[in-house]
Every structure is written in structure tokens, then in C-alpha cells.
Symmetry: C2
Subunit: 319 residues, 2 copies
């Protein structure tokens, strides 16, 4: 849940008047998303999401994110698309913050993950990776190995407060991943945060992929590693191989993967687990007292990381 | 913003299937309201509010609250009305909590208060007071003088942490209000929490009165005292007599008040300021570290209380 920017009713009415979407009927702050302030905006013409970009999202990245959504929506992916105001601009300003109105997607994110969800997520991820082939903008992945090292440095002295030995284990993992990180694999724009709360289903059918604010250029199969972590572990941190197989097969039937990508999957999944372990650890150690956002448990990702370290090959994921 | 109960998508779909409101299209947690978990529910037939009642609201009171909303909506007030399921019930259960689906009201609550808002709120409050004349249920006001004394007792030893001398000032105020509290004034069901975030406007016109979860039987003019506190002070805590006059005249043109009610208004407004001072003070001193809800400043209401104490007669409010 975001720390909200409270916008006034007349500010919103003036803002919306610059679009061809009718008069404002209702505006409700949404208790989802932690990076930005999101409102569900209802007008005479329908429902929209109004997003105010808070300082955790760099202004310079906004054309990439909005352009990516436009690109994906134009390719037919079930992706929210930025709405242009009458002046043609999608990125405007509200309450001294960058702001955009984005189309509303129907559906709910699944609180209880089923195998069919995993299969459809795999397929949708592959479609996304194919669709970005001709997307021209570029954004470096700030949360790759050098970024992980920085996070480790800023958590190193206090990591053992969370679990004794954690700092040493992370350091060893960073060294091993640096030595083993694959080179020469297909790259492109990845979603980088395709967790269940970013995927909508209407009934049993995937209806939306949202939240592109971590998207960046990276090894494509790394995104599959993120999804294995996000979708295929149960609440008790056990790995569900049936879900993994469904996810991976959903992906590979749409975008066939090379032997190199298959071989690299365990190390990519380890890297992805380490990335979420580190950001969660950072938030855990640095979150201010009384903050609105409750930090997530970093140790969930230590368990996932250890699982992937124990894996002998991508056969464990159904490949 | 509420501490949310997270309901699963399949639970909600099963719950909604018991109503004649079509299939679920979307469900978003709303970042408003602190007592309950509120979701904006969109179905094939329209928009609704799905409320899960959390433990701060007593189950035994729910028939009163839902019955009141039905009663007011039936009388034509712009009030959300509970939707009955096919079995005729409005109060049902979801995720082991009492839950209800309530009609959706268009409009936004005003972040910047104008005189016209105050005039319309006064009139709507009077209409509400007239409309409850034949409402048969009864709910005692837990936040009247005896309740204030209890709150004072549980804050007494720590009140001076917030401001030196606060405990003594509250004690003196309680004694004075007990001595001066009016008797024999017209009573009925009051809203008791008609703050700006509980009143919607569509353009400049009042379109909704929401949140009946503090409603109770009380002196009707006390509700006017609450609204004077909620609507007629500026952000710098100065009193805006023009807004007060508009509020009071909006009220009295719809429900004429007796000389006794007029004379009692300053003491009722003082009591109402003390009520919010005490509940805010309690929340301030007792709110758990890391809670999601940021407590509101109690001293805002100390300033309002002192203003009403300085008032010589209801003439200060435009009467």
C-alpha cells in the first residue's frame, strides 16, 4: 500500500478536463502498489487508473515505462495503455508530480495460485518477450550483479540481525553467481516483477499484466527465473514442480528456448532469488519506524535461493 | 487506511454469486476508511462497495447500521444502501467476517472546503435528522460523557507527553461539561462522524453521505456541533464564521431549531471537540509501533475546544 499523495477534487477535475474521457464521477485511492499513488478514476466514459509517480520512480525512466505499455498494448498484449490528453501527451503533471491516466484492466489477481495460472503466466511472459523485439527504448537493469553488491554493502554489517551467518552466505553467493553468470544469452526488455499481484485473471483466464515499473533490458530467461520464484513456491516455501513445469512449458511452447538458456536457468533463478532477498533485506533493515508499508520477510527468499542452489539442472523445473 | 483483510478471488466470486448483481469484473482494495476493509467491486451490472467488518465494529451493531442505511436510502437521502442477496439477507459472511455489499455512490469528497459545501452539508444533516424520526432501532452513544471520562482515565497519566498541562485541562473541561450539559433537547439518530471524507460532491452538488458506523441516538444539535468542528475551521485552526453561518442556516432552514438548541450549541460544540480530542489522544498514545494507520494530531481539537469555550453565544456560529 502506497504512501499516498492526496490530490484535491478540483485539481483532479482540472486534470481530467484535458482529456476526452468525460467528467469525473468518482475517485478512490487504491490500496495496492507501493511505488506510486494509484487512484481508480471513474468518468462518464468508463474506468481508468490515475497514477502519480512518487520519488522512488525516476522521472527520466517514465517515457520508457509508458512507451513500453503503449508498445505492448498495440501488439495485443493484455496490458494497460496510457491515455493521451487532447494535447497528445500521456505523461503530464498533477500536484507537482508526473502523472498519467492509464486504461483499466478487468480481472483480479489470484490469491491462491493454481497450475492453470502458472501455465498462462508462462505463455504471457513469452508473448511479452516476443513483443518487445522491436521496442526501441532501452533501460539498464539497476538490480543486476553490481546493484546486488551495492545492496549487500549497505546491509552487510546488520544482515546477521535477521539471521546469524546471513552476511557470509550472501557474500559467497555473490561471488559464485559472478563466476557462473551466463554470457551470450538472448536479451531484451523483461518485466522483472511479474508476481501474482501483477497478473489479473477474469474467471480462469489471464486478463491483464500490469506494473511495468521494474522493466529493463536483461537476459530474457532471467524473467522466467523471477516467475519460478514468484509463482511456484507454496506458502510453506516448498517448491511445486507441477506448477514450475506448467510455467516453463507455457513459456517454451510460445518462445522456444536454446540449450544455453535451459542450462542457465538454475543460476538465473538463484540470481533472481538473491535480488529479492537483497531488496527485502534492505527494506527490512532501513524501513522507518511508523512507515505505512510493512516490509516483507527477506528469509523467504533465502529459502528459495537455497532451493535453486540445490538443483542439479533445469530438469528440476520441468525442462 | 484500513488494515486489510485480504480475501481470495475465488472466495469473492462465490460470495458475489449469491447476489443478482452479475459476475465479478474487478475488485480493488480502497485506501479509505479505518474501521473496516473496503473494496470497490465491479460486476457486469455496475459498481458496488464490498465491506468486511473488522473487530472494531461490534457485530451486534451491524443490523442497526445496515438498517439505518436502508431506511435513509428509502427516504430519498443520497445514502448507500445495502444490497440483499437472493436469500433476502444484506448482512452475510465472507472470510469469517460479517460482510455486506452496498450500493456505490458517485462523487468525490472535497479536499478543499468551500462555503457552498458547508451550506449543503447543513441541509443534508437536517434532512437526515428528519428522516430518522420513524426509524425504530436504537443505539446508545458510547462516546458521550461517561465514555469521555473512561478515555480520559486511560490517557490521564500520559496526556502531558503530548502537551504539558493537557491532563488537567481535559479534567476541568469534563467537569464543566458535565455541569453544563443540556437536558430535554430533541434527540434522535445522529450521524456522529460527518467529516468531509464522508460527504461526496459531484461537481458542486452534494451527492452522497457515507459511513454510518458511528451513528447513535443522541441530542440532534450535537451533530451540528460535530459538523461545526469538522467543516468550519481552516488548516491553521482559525474559525471561518462564514462557513459556520452557511452550515447552520442550511440546517435550520430545513429543520427549524428551538431556542434551547440554539443556546446549547456552544457547549455541544465544546463536547464534540472534546470527544475527538480524546479519541485522537487515545489513538496517539496507544497506537502500536509500525501500525498502518497514522494517528491524527489530537491538539488540533484542543484548539477547537478552546475556541468554543471562548464563544459567548451561538451568535458566533451565525444563529
Amino acid at each position: 500500500m502506497a504512501v499516498y499523495t492526496e490530490v484535491s477534487d478540483d485539481e483532479v477535475e482540472r486534470f481530467v478536463a484535458a482529456y476526452d474521457i468525460g467528467e469525473v464521477i468518482a475517485l478512490k485511492g487504491i490500496a495496492e502498489g507501493v511505488e506510486n499513488s494509484n487512484y481508480l478514476l471513474q468518468t462518464a466514459k468508463g474506468s481508468y487508473i490515475l497514477t502519480l509517480y512518487e520519488k522512488r520512480v525516476a522521472r527520466a525512466d517514465l517515457p520508457f515505462f509508458l512507451g513500453l505499455m503503449e508498445h505492448l498494448a498495440a501488439k495485443g498484449l493484455p496490458c494497460p495503455t496510457p491515455i493521451a490528453a487532447r494535447d497528445g501527451r500521456t505523461l503530464r503533471e498533477l500536484h507537482k508530480r508526473p502523472a498519467a491516466i492509464i486504461s483499466f484492466l478487468r480481472g483480479m489477481w489470484p490469491r491462491r495460485i493454481l497450475v492453470t495460472h502458472c501455465a498462462q503466466v508462462g505463455e504471457a511472459l513469452a508473448r511479452l518477450h516476443l513483443a518487445v523485439a522491436d521496442f526501441s527504448l532501452h533501460r539498464a537493469n539497476a538490480l543486476a550483479l553490481p546493484g546486488w553488491r551495492q545492496l549487500y554493502q549497505s546491509c552487510r554489517t546488520r544482515a546477521d540481525e535477521v539471521q546469524p551467518g546471513l552476511a557470509e552466505e550472501i557474500k559467497r553467493e555473490l561471488d559464485e553467481l559472478a563466476a557462473q553468470w551466463p554470457e551470450g544469452l538472448p536479451q531484451g526488455v523483461i518485466h522483472a516483477d511479474l508476481f501474482p499481484d501483477n497478473v489479473f485473471f477474469l474467471g480462469d483466464k489471464l486478463s491483464g499484466l500490469i506494473d511495468y515499473y521494474f522493466a529493463c533490458n536483461e537476459i530474457l530467461a532471467y524473467d522466467l527465473g523471477i516467475c519460478l520464484n514468484a509463482w511456484c513456491f507454496e506458502n510453506d516455501d516448498s517448491f511445486n514442480a507441477t506448477k514450475a513445469r506448467a510455467l516453463v512449458r507455457g513459456y517454451t511452447k510460445t518462445r522456444p528456448v536454446s540449450p544455453g538458456e535451459i542450462a542457465a536457468l538454475p543460476v538465473l533463478a538463484r540470481g533472481s532469488a538473491l535480488r529479492f532477498l537483497l531488496t527485502r533485506l534492505y527494506d527490512w533493515l532501513h524501513h522507518p519506524a511508523g512507515a505505512f508499508v510493512k516490509p516483507k520477510d527477506p528469509l523467504e527468499y533465502l529459502k528459495k535461493l537455497r532451493f535453486h542452489r540445490s538443483v542439479k539442472s533445469a530438469a528440476a523445473y520441468g525442462l
